[in-house]
Symmetry: D2
Subunit: 353 residues, 4 copies
């Protein structure tokens, strides 16, 4: 089988590096083109990047010359992944889509637009069709498909079985988010976070309160009917490297009879088989642990190679009010890993293989 | 004025050390007797303690000989503070009370008993009278008065103005608790918490779900009518030294018209003047900060010398549903500081000065 | 090939868990018997252990019943690895050796005894013969072979090429040691080390100042002639999980002409080929990195699966005085990994395969 | 007494904030003028600064309007303290000195110039006269006086008594430096340092190897004869907030007979009385602690309000070779505190009071 050629926008940042790590040995994709900011274009990737992944960079990718973020350099690839910062992503990605390229992006802009799929493949792979409207609505020859906010992706996976089985009325969530969610050099200064918690992450609560409703919404004709519950979110930053932990209280429409019924809802949930067979999909999108003291960021963030979320401490607090904690790897399921999974879905759905 | 003689049970542990620090230069109290575990009795305090406070230990206290936790050694003191571990506190404190001593204790046992005051003086100083029943109910010649759980004390202070002004229906709280809440040597191993969060603290959620209802309850005759709302709590441990941060969502009976009305509720609240004049009472039991990124454990835990709690990020999420974060020093307001304040209240109320 | 049957003393502690992880899928060894403290004997390993490794425990080992640390339970195994705490290791290991068992131990007792091999196989595999004297000197039917102190193992590997090529006169070393070197539950309390460094590790400097001289000594007849240089050591504990970093200043007999000559000494060193072919041996026992800011504990500790040490920041400070930093994984090269390598050496040398 | 009017260059950064904290309530100095980078000039200090000190900012200073770093705004002050970054300090400070202003600066440029005093007042207050030559050598109407590098200041204080009493031949030092030494926002990213040590600090070793020789040198006519020993330095960054810890091995000319003789050298040293009477001078510039496990950054950095350095773990390793650890507050003794002390010395010596 010939590999599908892919490119990457914003390859030297933290999320960019995770993309490189995942694409370097990908069974379906061949990473052909990498862009960087103007100052680094023309340099070899290995020279321009301050590589901080825990696996070594492949020699082949290390030797690749970085290109500017211009469509002409990407014209031979089938999928362009984007790890651009949100401040520039909107303009660049639109330019790419107009010129005929398919962009699978981790950046914020367009996520809530009605003709833009916001995908967690296990939950709403069928929303991918939304993007077909972009030729009409935007005059794009290509398409833009979006990856959700990191905390949202983790939360939404845990909510899906509950929504389907019990119905959801209200979700109250407090996140304890890891440092890598804020990026590397421009991220959290060490003096701010040692022996400390930051009780605020700009824009995060708004994303958590809106994105899950679209993701968990239902295709109705050519649009998404948003899910009908309310999310109240509080976002904090804690001194962990990776792995967002979330304390979730849900009010359900049906009242589970006990914690066992909730645990079964997750354990027995039938995730779509066609997604499970994609290379980056984990065998269990949601893992439930029975121990009192799990999930823990350091011990559980790599579950399912970072693509599973881990649920624990399930407790019914009142009839119809349940509490649990959920943890996921913010850079993998919450960013590059989920985006690569979207790329795989796209390649399969539209027959690129 | 002659100082009131006081004693201390469990003086070498972490909470014990904070008691010593606060009592060492107290304007009303003179710390006369300190107990330690059997192995340390007979040694000088300065030799037995592994002092980790940030202020030096006074020479006078350092030279004091430790005594066993037996009432006979305390017969000349008017108030006995207890920093005993909960595993032994029940039996020892009961023995002290039976032999005529007044015990103000930080330990868990008896907190929910109907004849035992569970006090945050600014909130419910009048509950102190409950203890007068103990001669009848228990045959005590002395009394036992209790300090609440640390997270509870911090939460309850922030809830009091809301309860009085808007009424409370339900409180959903997730705590991010500091390491010192677990004690020193037997506390959290460093390998458990570096680059990690522990999603569980044994017994903590049960305390948070029960104690506030008693504290915020109303004296009715000789008993307390518990407050009529529900608390759903999740407790986590984060890598901070001191200062418990709590993410709180409240459902109120009356609907505040906006965040300003909530902020005013805290700012304009009239805390009882007689408590404000006690030496350890802060001028503001609740401080509200307007910045987006406060309260922070490291920056705010020493507010009001550790006796104020700091509220921030006040937000109305839905009509009648408000969110805020509150922070307090777990060893001061959440333990020794609040207990010393109870001691001052006792001394004033019962005329020991 | 039939696997060599091995046992493990002290299997539930931190070093014990690393042994289990390394032996669980070992190509030569089959882990048959595991002991634990009396309270845990009879329980299944998976129930007794608080497993904190980052890879899951195998089902097979999880189901094994723990036995007491008595020779009778180990009589069918060929090698017994010991992760016992030093306080009990001496007595137990002697008992095992007397009853005919071969013990490869990570514990302190006997390390400096003249008839006990203290091995880093790449450096001094030939010292293994020392143990043959134990039947005469101690009346053992079995043998005791020792693994060095963790910081010592890392330092000694970096010193070996320098000793051989330039000769050593004096080594001044300051260690920055990770938390896992102190063990798990009885180890460093989190309150001691967050935002802190501990300038003292009991017994560590003495080990660093004596053990390398034996390891780097030369077999002369049936005894070891210790190496003839001086080590001055300072040991500190820093807030890292794993990976001891050491700042080393060496005074050499010959004066290298420049940093390149030093780097070549490490890079071109011919480690014994027979050791390189053992399953746990790394392809490069010493890796030299050219970047200014390496080695770093978190980024480099897993080099060579934890069996390589990483050298960096090589600098000639004065003629004949050179400085470098070296890092190694304290639980792997500094403990269980090196011990397993010793086991492999034993099996090969004495034809157990 | 009228206060001496002083100004501050670079007031919003981390060192700038410590200057403000120290000058806000200074008994001799009145902080009149504060500069900031062009973008902040014109704003109130309280609006422009992201205040992260642990004491509140005074209202008076908070209300001050920031000025550009131009001499005309400072013409009414007698001493200008400088917390400018080294990249701009050289040019700005020279301009200030040319226009007649006395600049006491924490920045690197000019530190090693022969006509520039590099002062730790307790050690070399008499070097202050060097600056009188600047009118001749540079045509300055004002003067530039320099504060040493942070690690250097701490090390040099500990060396002074040893140099005077035993003579020094060689000093081998490894530093474990705190995060605040690298500044706040442009400092160490949290992702670099959590669970990690950085084995490199740009330029630091060179400073440690040169500055102490000037500081500990002797005035000879109008120039400084540098001290005649060698320093070999290794600098690392560890995850502590404040407080640089240094592991020091000294080779002395005279051989102390035991650790007691070394300890007495520090304890009995006669620091110059005129310096001790300056307001910011600590009563003990060097404190020696006898405990095995001290000094520790978190417990000892505030000794003497951050102006004392703390020595511990004194050990004679060989005849004439001694090892100790020394700790000091990098922002106070290592930066703003020492500079304020220099300002006090200047005011006293040149009769500004």
């Amino acid at each position: 089988m010939d590999k599908v050629k892919v490119g990457l926008l914003g390859s030297t940042g933290l999320v960019g590096q995770v993309f490189v790590k995942l694409l370097d040995k990908h069974p379906w994709f061949s990473l052909e083109v990498l862009s960087a900011s103007p100052g680094n274009a023309g340099r070899k990737y290995g020279d321009a990047v301050h590589w901080i992944m825990d696996t070594p960079l492949s020699r082949e990718t290390s030797e690749k010359k970085l290109v500017p973020a211009e469509p002409e350099y990407f014209k031979d690839v089938d999928i362009v992944f984007s790890a651009l910062p949100s401040s520039v992503a909107g303009e660049v990605e639109a330019r790419f889509a107009r010129s005929g390229l398919v962009v699978v992006s981790n950046a914020r802009p367009f996520r809530l637009d009605p003709d833009v799929p916001l995908l967690i493949p296990e939950i709403n792979w069928d929303h991918i069709r939304l993007a077909e409207r972009q030729s009409g609505t935007r005059g794009y020859e290509g398409r833009i498909i979006k990856n959700p906010n990191c905390s949202t992706a983790i939360l939404s996976l845990s909510l899906k079985p509950l929504l389907d089985i019990f119905g959801l009325k209200r979700v109250t969530v407090t996140t304890l988010q890891a440092l890598s969610g804020a990026g590397y050099r421009g991220g959290v200064p060490s003096l701010d976070i040692l022996d400390n918690v930051l009780p605020y992450i700009k824009g995060e609560e708004e994303k958590l309160e809106s994105e899950p409703l679209k993701i968990l919404g239902r295709m109705s004709g050519s649009r998404v009917e948003p899910a009908g519950f309310k999310v109240n979110a509080t976002a904090t930053r804690v001194p962990t490297l990776h792995g967002h932990l979330e304390s979730v209280t849900v009010e359900t429409a049906e009242k589970p009879t006990g914690e066992e019924e909730l645990v079964e809802a997750w354990k027995d949930y039938r995730w779509p088989g066609e997604i499970k067979r994609l290379p980056t999909a984990p065998s269990d999108p949601v893992i439930v642990r029975a121990e009192d003291d799990r999930p823990q960021p350091r011990l559980d963030r790599d579950s399912g190679k970072g693509m599973s979320v881990v649920v624990g401490r399930v407790k019914i607090k009142e009839p119809g009010v349940a509490r649990y904690l959920v943890l996921g790897h913010n850079l993998v399921r919450g960013a590059a890993g989920n985006a690569v999974l979207i790329g795989e879905l796209y390649a399969k759905y539209y027959g690129l293989l």
